[in-house]
Symmetry: D2
Subunit: 348 residues, 4 copies
């Protein structure tokens, strides 16, 4: 491993530190690695050391390249976000040199750093592929940092998938931040996992006794969040296997409605809303030409399905029609090919 530090601003003490592991050689099946950018907390007054390296070790041992961001504090929004953007741009620019999967870079933030991470997953130009939000001050606002936005208000169908955890009795940052953000992700069909532990003070980091005294009460299960978050990232990113990374086990978004091009992962409603999408579907399912409602009724009656305008056509076809029609997947592949050429007009 080598440690490289890129100082952004000497005076402001802002920097990006990279912890870069080897690939290849004896790591036979590892040619690149996923990455994680760690954003410590500190109430936008300082960057906490305890939420830096001890966190990096956890993901390094899971095979990730790790990065720690020291961002501007005692400032105004959006300066910290701009530090994040700069960090992410450096990481992506140097992805080859640092043996990184450029599309598998997560961000993890704690407390105020959790606010910054929540802004990264919702509104950044350089959105991460996943976010981990630890006792995150998502609604952090003017009292803490001038002009800081409430990240909750920016959740939409393009928000990156998130793993969230908090303790219920956190007196500094209410666990409602975590609850409300989870709810918003659920509303928008964004993949997430959420753990709220019954008790424990703010700032437990990983719960390891080398960071936090064993005398501080918290549930025995608190430290589970670390391995659980690694599992979450592996489900989203895939895992090391011979010849690269395995396919993800979970999709980042429930539908393809917010992607740049249409796909069989779009909902029926979405596809019907554009002329080209509608035509593509009608060619495959000619009955649709007589109107969606009638077709739906007929299909539901004939096949005892429960067709719903909010379902991705893919899941509908895969789980229902495809079964009925003798499992000929060529229809779906044909549809997919046509759809992925059609730009997604997101105003529809």
């Amino acid at each position: 491993m080598r440690i490289e530090k890129k100082v952004f601003d000497q005076e402001k003490n802002t920097s990006l530190t990279a912890y870069i592991q080897e690939v290849g050689g004896e790591y036979r099946h590892v040619t690149k690695r996923p990455g994680i950018l760690i954003i410590p907390g500190g109430a936008y007054q300082y960057c906490s050391d305890r939420e830096g390296e001890p966190v990096a070790f956890e993901y390094l041992k899971a095979g990730f390249q790790a990065f720690i961001l020291r961002y501007t504090v005692r400032t105004e929004w959006p300066e910290p976000l701009e530090d994040y953007e700069k960090a992410m741009e450096i990481i992506r620019d140097r992805a080859d040199e640092w043996n990184l999967y450029v599309d598998k870079i997560a961000v993890i933030g704690f407390s105020a750093g959790g606010h910054l991470a929540a802004c990264a997953v919702t509104m950044a130009r350089n959105k991460p592929a996943a976010g981990i939000l630890g006792y995150a001050a998502i609604d952090c606002r003017d009292e803490i940092l001038k002009n800081a936005p409430n990240a909750l208000e920016y959740v939409d169908g393009k928000t990156a998938p998130c793993f969230l955890f908090a303790t219920r009795t956190d007196q500094l940052v209410s666990c409602r931040n975590t609850i409300d953000f989870s709810r918003a992700l659920a509303e928008h069909g964004v993949c997430f996992e959420s753990h709220i532990y019954s008790h424990g003070p703010h700032g437990l980091v990983t719960g390891d006794q080398s960071i936090e005294d064993s005398a501080i009460p918290r549930p025995e299960s608190y430290h589970h969040w670390v391995q659980d978050s690694v599992n979450f990232l592996r489900d989203i990113f895939g895992h090391f296997e011979k010849g690269g990374m395995s396919a993800p086990r979970v999709r980042a978004h429930d539908t393809g409605d917010d992607e740049d091009y249409l796909s069989a992962h779009c909902t029926i409603g979405k596809l019907l809303s554009s002329q080209e999408g509608k035509s593509a579907m009608e060619d495959i399912m000619p009955g649709l030409r007589d109107g969606y409602e009638g077709w739906k009724r007929k299909m539901n009656e004939k096949y005892h399905t429960n067709l719903d305008i909010g379902q991705p056509i893919e899941s509908y076809v895969l789980s229902t029609l495809w079964n009925m029609l003798g499992r000929d997947s060529s229809m779906l592949m044909e549809l997919q090919k046509r759809l992925e050429k059609i730009p997604n007009d997101q105003s529809l």
Copy 2:
């Protein structure tokens, strides 16, 4: 262990089955046991076997007495709740015979059984000491069971502490049930723990492969909920130790404002709102007689505290004044003695 089955109604196939472990003898330090009443799911159409005994084994091995309720299905509300009440009454009546801590009986329910458990913790005459809600259909209503209430609407400061878990991609019962119930518990200062796993279908029970095929995708961490829920109950109920059970590590409610009598666990606001509570406080903290706001300002200035009307007086005294005043706990005990004779007028 002995298994006893009490049939409620032969025709309706309703019953309470008790799994009663030994105490004493070689179990030197076990004179009584906590209990758990298991409420299987089944969409109020049947009672699922898979959500019965496999769940009982988990809590039996943790030292609990276990009970399985088979309640009336294909009926109207509140018949299932009445079955629950009957079960709880039997359990409490026979607590001595069954070597039970009568104040340490939890309930666990899955899916529709989770709806019934959610009603138990909020509105039952025989409220359990804690509830575990597994992928619970908390908003279950008319479509499923005629007249069934949305348990969410009944959450208040007297709701029993709850452990909740669900999978995000549950297509039968939305994880929003779990999120919204958690939020309501947070609002009302009720202790809870909540785990929402990133993916997995409805009805995974404990996730053990003897119940659910390993081919069904779910996160590796899913089965953690079982041990986590045991830890939760131990934090609320205490744990076996020489001579009985240890003191709980977590309170069921953040304040004593909803208890039958006042206590030092009530908030300052609550105590000030009743004449008797106010007098008791003024006798201990004479400065209060000149008005709360002025007193608060003085205290905060003098002791650099952050006194708040929503804090339990106990935590305030313990964490702040008590420290300042040289740790003489007699003051607090004196206050507690006076307060616990004053009935809590909950209309205030």
Copy 3:
């Protein structure tokens, strides 16, 4: 679940208690279950309750049928073993009724019960398919029970695979019992797993606080033996999957040299030692007719292998020749077919 108790002798208080779970119905993929016979300890003076039901719950929850044996105490060898034999005969006789895989019945014994279990895996008429030996008094002899054998002396290539655990500072039964038994199993190519924890007194059972006070010092990892033993049994027996049990992941014995019939799992040395085995091999590998040593040299040179008379022919063929020869497995299957008709003359 139902509990059935078969009393062997009222006066001696000996019995077999069966804990029988349901199969089929909602347990869609469970048509039969593996079983485990639990033998409590008690220095052959009594049968410990603590090493009975709390252990049963652990394996019940893993999907097993569980049985507890109360055997004769304050007696002479082989009376306890005869109780074991009787129990095993009943279990096998009633395998259909009790929905048991008759070839997947393990035994678990603690302390003196571990001695009895060690005798079961080595010398019983009704050998179990696997054994778990907990702080087992394997060398238990006359002082404890008249005429009791030292099970260590009976380990051979037919001994059942074993999972062993102990604490190093056990003052009643030395952990050397566990070490020496492990070594003997290694010598004879019998599958085993062994865990010796750094400290802890005799008799911790599962380590759960409902059995043993948390004040008793032991390593945090002590309780891992329970899940580890379940994993061990699953590797040996296979695990529940659609349509039955999956194939075992580990063989009970490193070679087939002690089976009743020859097989491709026998070592080259074993096969060469019988005329019929030799012929079968020569037909498949004609070069062998000119003598083993020359053939071996040629093969090793040609294929850069490391052919060894102690290797199962199967592993040799699979890992080496088969690769070389273009992966045509028909040769191996043909050989297997011929071999499995040849009785194994174990005097060779």
Copy 4:
């Protein structure tokens, strides 16, 4: 963290790399850290990268300072041991600078590195405070490295406490190495913990999928060795707590018979074998003057104890006499004070 590399010999590619974490500051209760020196394997032909940094991360995250040794390969014994000695001397010399507890430095070695670690714990001038031996080639000899000793032959009462693990089906290094070393440690009263997993090939390191492909079969429990070894070190070294490290929970050696000075932790037999020790004991327990055997008989009768010449006098006094005599610990402390001035003549 900073990484410092000290090259021993450029040509031989030997070096010590130090991974040094911060102390103090936000790590309020961490003023120094324990350390671990990692010795990779590689059949004394090379130093394996996979057994270096991925291992360091595990102990860094547990709060340790970590060191990786690259030792001379393709050489003769004792050159690798001399590299070890040099590394340990550097580490101890720079203990202050590197914020190390100089008496809490462990060593971990894998495969051939496990041989070197086994030599370190038995015969090195600079013995570590504990050793972790992973699938260690303890009997490694001439074939692998000229003149290499079999570490097994050097185990004695001064050997450092060891944590050992291996897989049973390791085809390169037999698990008997681990079994036999465990047995020798048990013989000599040296603290150890040992885990032999039922199957798995040589060289699995931590079992993490970023190091070893998930396709390689091994028990689910294999990776437990990592956390178990951390727990072992914490039991021996103590754990971080306010103001330093807590007291160890386990002694490195069962008795003080091999220490440089006598102590109340010596066995009765040891103390009686030296004139000064005998006098010290007789002054405290005057009855001893009439001869050990008679005194023992009297004590055993009077106090129903089971006095044994092999027990440390401390444990005897603490568990028995001390109880009887009303728990006056002054007697023991007085004895301890006298004993610790008496050099231990180890020829006795």
